[in-house]
């Protein structure tokens, strides 16, 4: 890429960097995916929900992360990747809220509410999406 040296990695766009920094600083579980749906980060609180730290899983493609964490709809049926809030936010470029059940790496299931929102740069470029999770019933309990 540069005249003297090859960059050791493709730079993430600023909007994802700032979103990751935000998620790293809060206790609300959160996921971050890039514009291709690649899971590029989840924070410690999400790690506690899922039973693994991000450092253990690393990046995951959409098929991998959607299978790894369940998920199941309100009636307990497995959800297709196209139905997930993050996927809808990516596909349609709009915020999405839903309730679903996540499955941890240890097999435990947790009912959660999910809010996903697209990340669009100042120049209009689509960067990815961010999702935050609340355990169902946690609303109002701070």
């Amino acid at each position: 890429m540069h005249a003297e040296l090859e960059s050791p990695g493709d730079q993430q766009p600023l909007e994802l960097i700032l979103a990751r920094n935000l998620l790293s600083s809060i206790s609300t579980p959160g996921f971050l995916v890039d514009k291709d749906g690649m899971l590029v980060f989840f924070n410690e609180a999400a790690g506690a929900l899922l039973g693994k730290h991000y450092e253990e899983t690393g990046k995951m493609g959409p098929d991998d992360w959607s299978r790894a964490f369940g998920p199941y709809d309100r009636k307990g049926r497995p959800m297709d990747i196209d139905e997930l809030p993050l996927t809808i936010a990516l596909r349609e470029g709009c915020p999405v809220h839903d309730s679903l059940t996540l499955q941890s790496f240890q097999g435990d299931r947790r009912e959660v509410e999910v809010s996903a929102l697209p990340l669009v740069a100042a120049n209009g470029g689509f960067r990815g999406a961010l999702a935050i999770f609340w355990p169902t019933g946690a609303r109002g309990k701070r």
Binding site: M1, H2, A3, E4, L5, S7, P8, G9, D10, Q11, Q12, P13, L14, E15, I17, L18, R20, N21, L22, S24, S25, A121, A122, N123, G124, G125
Partner: protein
């Protein structure tokens, strides 16, 4: 590629007897490319003296704005080439969802802040939002990328032959993050600055001042040096001095920077404080850091 610093101050011009050595003009750097043409990085108040020096010798000019805070555009209204009919000026800057680059700059060059409007400038001026992909200006390849600061803000990398300049004057890459632990892909500005022949980087605050200014979009000394080490810049020029920092204060900061740089494994000869009117020739290899102590 050669550089000349016309303004190294941040936030607001700070003229006076206590800032005579480092200078009080706000951000402006002249870059002379291998074909003799000129690029201008930012249009703080330092650009006024640059315009007087050019005296019509460069009818075609490119001005690359990192962002539109006043300390980076205030000199535009006093840049002599803007008032010469034979001048052709292209102004590059960040896109915004708010309005076009021309309209946003026009908020400054218009009543009641200005006696003239953009359309009244005698020169031929055009406004271009910096593209996401690399582009060419004369012999230089220019790359722009958004960096961590308040509001839409770019950093630039200019490559001419085998020399490269990374210019990131307003930057807080350590906001909410520990630079020493982040993977490169997650460091704001990393690709722009990686392996640059010269990195010109924000160092507005001493370390003890930074905690009071977290989120303001600027770097403390240790974060500026940590960034420079992470990106493996060959030389680093600390820039965008706080208006409250006198020459004596900057001398002390420079000494602290040299010690910290050595602690990080850097060569103090490759680090200096930006000083107004300082000239650096990147094609000639390392030059003595005459301004390191500000003397």
């Amino acid at each position: 590629m050669r550089l000349k610093i016309w303004g190294a101050r941040g936030s607001i011009p700070s003229p006076g007897p206590e800032t005579t050595r480092y200078g009080g003009n706000t951000s402006c750097v002249q870059v002379t490319l291998s074909d003799g043409s000129t690029l201008v990085l930012d249009a703080g108040t330092g650009i006024r003296n640059l315009g007087l020096m050019l005296a019509g010798s460069q009818p075609r000019l490119h001005i690359l704005l990192t962002h539109l805070h006043l300390d980076h555009i205030q000199g535009l209204m006093f840049f002599a080439p803007c008032f010469r009919p034979q001048s052709e000026i292209v102004i590059w800057g960040p896109a915004s969802p708010d309005a076009s680059l021309e309209d946003r700059i026009g908020r400054y060059i218009s009543a009641p802040l200005s006696p003239v409007e953009v359309r009244e400038l005698p020169c031929s001026v055009s406004f271009r939002e910096a593209p996401a992909s690399e582009w060419e200006i004369g012999p230089a390849r220019v790359q722009a990328a958004s960096v961590s600061h308040r509001g839409p803000t770019l950093g630039y990398r200019i490559t001419d032959g085998d020399q490269s300049l990374a210019y990131i004057p307003d930057h807080e890459p350590a906001l909410g993050a520990d630079l020493s632990r982040l993977e490169p892909e997650w460091i704001s500005g990393y690709d722009l600055a990686y392996g640059a022949s010269l990195l010109v980087h924000d160092c507005q605050y001493a370390d003890e001042e930074y905690p009071e200014h977290v989120g303001w979009g600027h770097s403390g000394l240790s974060d500026a040096l940590g960034f420079a080490r992470r990106v493996e810049a060959r030389r680093t020029l600390l820039f965008h001095h706080d208006p409250l920092h006198s020459d004596d204060r900057l001398d002390a900061l420079c000494g602290a920077a040299a010690r910290r740089w050595e602690d990080l494994g850097g060569d103090p000869a490759c680090l200096e404080m930006a000083t107004e009117r300082r000239e650096i020739d990147l094609s000639g290899g390392p030059t003595p850091a005459a301004a390191r102590s500000g003397t």
